[in-house]
Symmetry: C2
Subunit: 339 residues, 2 copies
Amino acid sequence: MKIAVDAMGGDYAPEQVVLGAIDAVESYDYDVVLVGDETKIRQVLKKYGAKESERLAVVHAGEVIEMGEHPAQAIRKKKDASIVVATRLVKEGVCAAVVAPGSTGAAVTAALLGLGRIRGIERPCIATPIPSKKGITVLLDSGANSDSKPKHLVQGAIMGTHYAKYILGIGEPRVGLLNIGEEASKGNELAQATYPMLEKVKTISFYGNVEGRDITEGKVDVVVCDGFVGNVILKFAEGIAMFIIQLVKEAIKHGGFIAKLGALAVYPALKKLGKRLDFTEYGGAPLLGVDGSFIICHGSSKAKTIKRAVRVAGELVDQDVVGHIRSSIEEGEQYDSES
Amino acid sequence: MKIAVDAMGGDYAPEQVVLGAIDAVESYDYDVVLVGDETKIRQVLKKYGAKESERLAVVHAGEVIEMGEHPAQAIRKKKDASIVVATRLVKEGVCAAVVAPGSTGAAVTAALLGLGRIRGIERPCIATPIPSKKGITVLLDSGANSDSKPKHLVQGAIMGTHYAKYILGIGEPRVGLLNIGEEASKGNELAQATYPMLEKVKTISFYGNVEGRDITEGKVDVVVCDGFVGNVILKFAEGIAMFIIQLVKEAIKHGGFIAKLGALAVYPALKKLGKRLDFTEYGGAPLLGVDGSFIICHGSSKAKTIKRAVRVAGELVDQDVVGHIRSSIEEGEQYDSES
């Protein structure tokens, strides 16, 4: 199976992206097609002594979407942008999935225009795996949409359930609605309207409302919220992870002798802790609801994240998550499509 | 100055609340009136060898609002509830401020019914101080409202500015609008409508949009968002703080000998770190916009938080934050009151 990787996406492209791809083909059974400026990509391959092959190919794309560009306009204008070409390779059946580091907006637009939506899904969602005390909680939508309606959250709950089932291996994933209290009557208009609809969906296991603290507690396996809230939460977590690292550094710098020695001894563990809280480390988040396997990676992704993202992309295809979502939606979920 | 403290509020009432009050009158120039079941309060005072005095008085209230009760209904029904009596003491001029641990919903309702709103303020906001790399960032609304309109966010920006100016001592507080991107065009409908209104307010220093990670970065001094988002964020942070403590405990338990020794040596520092991230530790959050000084404390507040909350309440009165908000709003802020 071939995974198309946008080699020009993100802050550390193409070097870190190419490095991650080299590592991925060595570690997994998935092949990678690097899409982007072929000269630059080949320079990196040469630098690290890697050879182009059946398993690690290069497809040229002459344009790049820059972080500052208006995503939708740029995607429409630049037909030869690396992310557009990578998506086309999936549409045309050459590749099975896309790995897209960089601008989330550009990735979502490229996926929507290039692959289309699964019939019946109005708003694709970004599903982000978050570490919890009990394992992994999937948060969606974490930023594909900024104004969600109740039915979009319901569709998110269905898609998140399939992701948790087939990728995380959870038999009957519990779905929680992110809210400001446990009672069904709590919350803003969106949450209040979504609650009774989620209760009616037969193919999900609806737990009820969950609060912010329940995400890392691992009370449920899937947490649904609108994309504005999800995005704010994830970026806030990112900030906290950076803050922890700084506080620990300060403790080492200004602590007493014992504390300093102790802190130095546990520093590697603490850095790992910071990374465990840095949800951007988890190898990308699938964009669920588009008609193809599509993984979005943070703009700051380095080689390890890209490598992991290739694996997640391969697993999405292996487990046919898109197919499961398609049948589930086609079979007709029980929710009020007027909301 | 007398501060009315609801001695029956929160998970550790009355013992921890009374203990915090004892400590507060010993540490600060503020007097405390403990409101609640006088027998229970006196038992705690006796247990810790504290005496009733001019500086530490007891006012009986025969009822309590339980955490599970519907806040608005309970407050209307129980005229002799400790939180209702405490608020009445401020309305009648006996006390200068209220400290209310426990149910946020009950506290907000008690304050609204007992003190009323400042003329021109439609929705009071909870302003929560959050530690950042540069000091403190005030987040509001952190949960008084669940559906905010643009004008409510604008009023929050004005009130947060006064809080940052007079309580945190920041000369010209920068205000950021919490959003999912920096550009003015970003965000959900609420954020998009609020942005141009904030630009027009002459008495605040509007920085523009900020993202989740900018809160702990300390990019601005005041962050405005709707109460649903604010509440979710704060509870998420609470969850992360608890998660950190657990991860460190695990590292101590399962780490190698050196890591174990090191972790034990830095454990106190790490626990402090967890607490620094536990924003509920900051001595309560003022409910701004009601016509009186009112501090809400987390339900899990222990003595130290109560003690700090008494100080914050006293400072709110000393600095006449309510008066500053009142004049600022009366002088007529420049925002579209139709939104």
